[in-house]
């Protein structure tokens, strides 16, 4: 049901019945390594190109999610997923293996929540019984496309972020046990005229703030309704800027309540500069670490706001600014909903 201009309330409460998360070697050394279903020691995943390894990452995440729910891939009605590579080939090629009817999505690093919002909408309106949704990124494949060759010695500024090697997938259903998707707010494309591709957090923060404030207003809840409001990959700078904006707008969101996936995934001391990024960042942290904590009872209600910078190397070279987007999805767990 639509409330306000761009918020859906899911009264049938689609359930995330299982999730699958896969990570690479750098994530295995990170803070939340225990929350991954599968970790690879080799960045190549025994493939002969990084793009093929990227495809395998997503395939495995989907397989893990299906395995854990004991669902056959033939039972899945739709697959909604995407990544950052040109023409989202890793995801499309992985979908060839999975064989389910497929919607390819592109929302840069916001793809995870774009997929979850759409999936929940379809399940909520009885459009499907099982929907698989997810997002993935591969550090070297993405760096190769957006920046320099991986072994090139270019000094990264302190504002830059580290692309996650990982994939996260979630299986949504209209019935079953697990955290429920209760509402979603779709983001607008916001452009604050930022041009530095090595400072994505600073560019994306206004989009995250816009979506969060719209969500709270349209759902007519106070920020304290949520135990946790977690953004996708704003990193240190983006998070600080967002908090400044909330303060300026008078939105009472506390520092403890407002977290960022890009600051959760890695350990202090890993050379990630301003934090993590990539489509796989929010997907792995939310579908792995955060849902695990939710099931343990650490918190009951969270709002996940995946943020994406909609640029390409071409638009940057043509001196275009960086338009950004953020999609918010609320996930709730526990009795009395």
């Amino acid at each position: 049901m639509l409330v306000g201009k761009r918020t859906w309330i899911f009264e049938n409460k689609p359930v995330i019945i299982s999730t699958g998360t896969v990570g690479g070697p750098f994530e295995a050394e990170g803070e939340i390594a225990d929350d991954f279903d599968l970790l690879h020691a080799d960045l190549w995943l025994a493939q002969d190109s990084y793009e093929k390894a990227h495809k395998i990452l997503f395939e495995e995440a989907c397989q893990k999610a299906l395995e854990k729910a004991e669902i056959q891939k033939e039972q899945v009605q739709f697959l909604l997923a995407g990544d950052l590579i040109n023409q989202i080939t890793p995801t499309s090629f992985a979908s060839r293996t999975i064989g389910a009817p497929y919607f390819g999505l592109f929302g840069a690093c916001s793809t995870s929540m774009e997929g979850l919002a759409l999936g929940a909408y379809i399940v909520n309106s009885n459009g499907a019984k099982y929907i698989l949704t997810g997002a993935s990124s591969h550090n070297t494949a993405v760096e190769k496309q957006f920046r320099y060759p991986t072994e090139y010695g270019g000094q990264k500024p302190p504002t830059s972020q580290w692309t996650v090697t990982g994939a996260g997938a979630a299986l949504l259903s209209n019935s079953g046990e697990g955290p429920c998707v209760t509402s979603a707010t779709i983001g607008r494309v916001i452009d604050m005229g930022m041009t530095d591709p090595f400072n994505m957090g600073g560019a994306m923060a206004p989009a995250a703030v816009d979506t969060i404030e719209a969500h709270l207003k349209e759902r007519n809840v106070d920020p304290s309704y949520y135990d946790l409001i977690v953004t996708g990959d704003l990193g240190k700078i983006g998070r600080d800027v967002s908090l400044d904006l909330f303060k300026k707008h008078g939105t009472p969101i506390t520092e403890e309540q407002f977290q960022d996936c890009g600051l959760i995934i890695y350990r202090d001391g890993q050379p990630v500069l301003s934090g993590a990024s990539g489509a796989g960042c929010s997907a792995t942290v939310v579908y792995g670490h955060l849902l695990n904590r939710m099931k343990k009872g650490d918190f009951k209600k969270m709002l996940v706001v995946a943020t994406g910078a909609l640029l390409s190397p071409l638009t940057f070279q043509q001196n275009e600014t960086i338009p950004c987007i953020a999609h918010a999805v609320s996930i709730e767990y526990g009795e009395g909903e």
């Binding site: 002969d48 190109s49 990084y50 793009e51 190769k144 320099y148 060759p149 991986t150 072994e151 090139y152 010695g153 270019g154 000094q155 990264k156 500024p157 302190p158 504002t159 452009d191 604050m192 005229g193 930022m194 041009t195 400072n199 600073g202 923060a205 206004p206 240190k236 700078i237 600080d240 800027v241 400044d244 904006l245 300026k248 050379p271 301003s274």
Partner: protein, 159 residues
């Protein structure tokens, strides 16, 4: 130029960018310069040692020793790039590792490694000078301009 860009921004964008600027981690320029000075100096020191070695033990002179020295440095860089070490040195050293000939070698070699998966002709061949190409182009062009100026000065200036 940045002023020109600023003018096209709406007041809301300008206001945001000012707010954002306060939170943006600044590049440690002075520290980077010192690190670049040390790393760059160290690479040159190694180059000097190689040069001295060639002059002492082989039949090279001050004029002819340049080529084998550069060749050796590039070979070392090839190994460092291939083993994934050079980009780490570069994150520390910045311009210090980018400006010497080793930086140029790294730009070529890293592109070759990166595009190996697309085959030798379209991949390695087509992308080898992806980064280094403009260095060569503008390097040759600026040399041409300098020579032109020199020639004009000698011919007509009577120097």
């Amino acid at each position: 130029m940045s002023n020109n860009k600023k003018k096209q921004l709406t007041p809301v964008q300008q206001e945001y960018q000012e707010l954002q600027k306060k939170r943006e981690t600044k590049r440690p320029v002075v520290r980077n310069c010192i690190k670049a000075f040390l790393v760059g100096g160290f690479i040159c020191l190694i180059g000097q040692l190689i040069q001295t070695f060639y002059i002492y033990y082989f039949d090279f002179t001050d004029q002819t020793v340049g080529n084998p020295t550069v060749g050796t440095l590039i070979f070392i860089v090839m190994l460092l790039t291939g083993f994934g070490v050079y980009d780490r040195i570069a994150q520390f050293g910045g311009a210090g590792s980018a400006v010497p000939v080793t930086g140029f070698g790294n730009a070529v070699i890293s592109a070759a490694i990166e595009h190996r998966t697309e085959g030798f002709v379209l991949g390695v061949g087509g992308n080898l000078f992806k980064l280094a190409g403009s260095v060569i182009l503008f390097g040759v062009f600026s040399a041409f301009v300098i020579v032109l100026i020199k020639t004009i000065l000698i011919q007509w200036g009577g120097m």
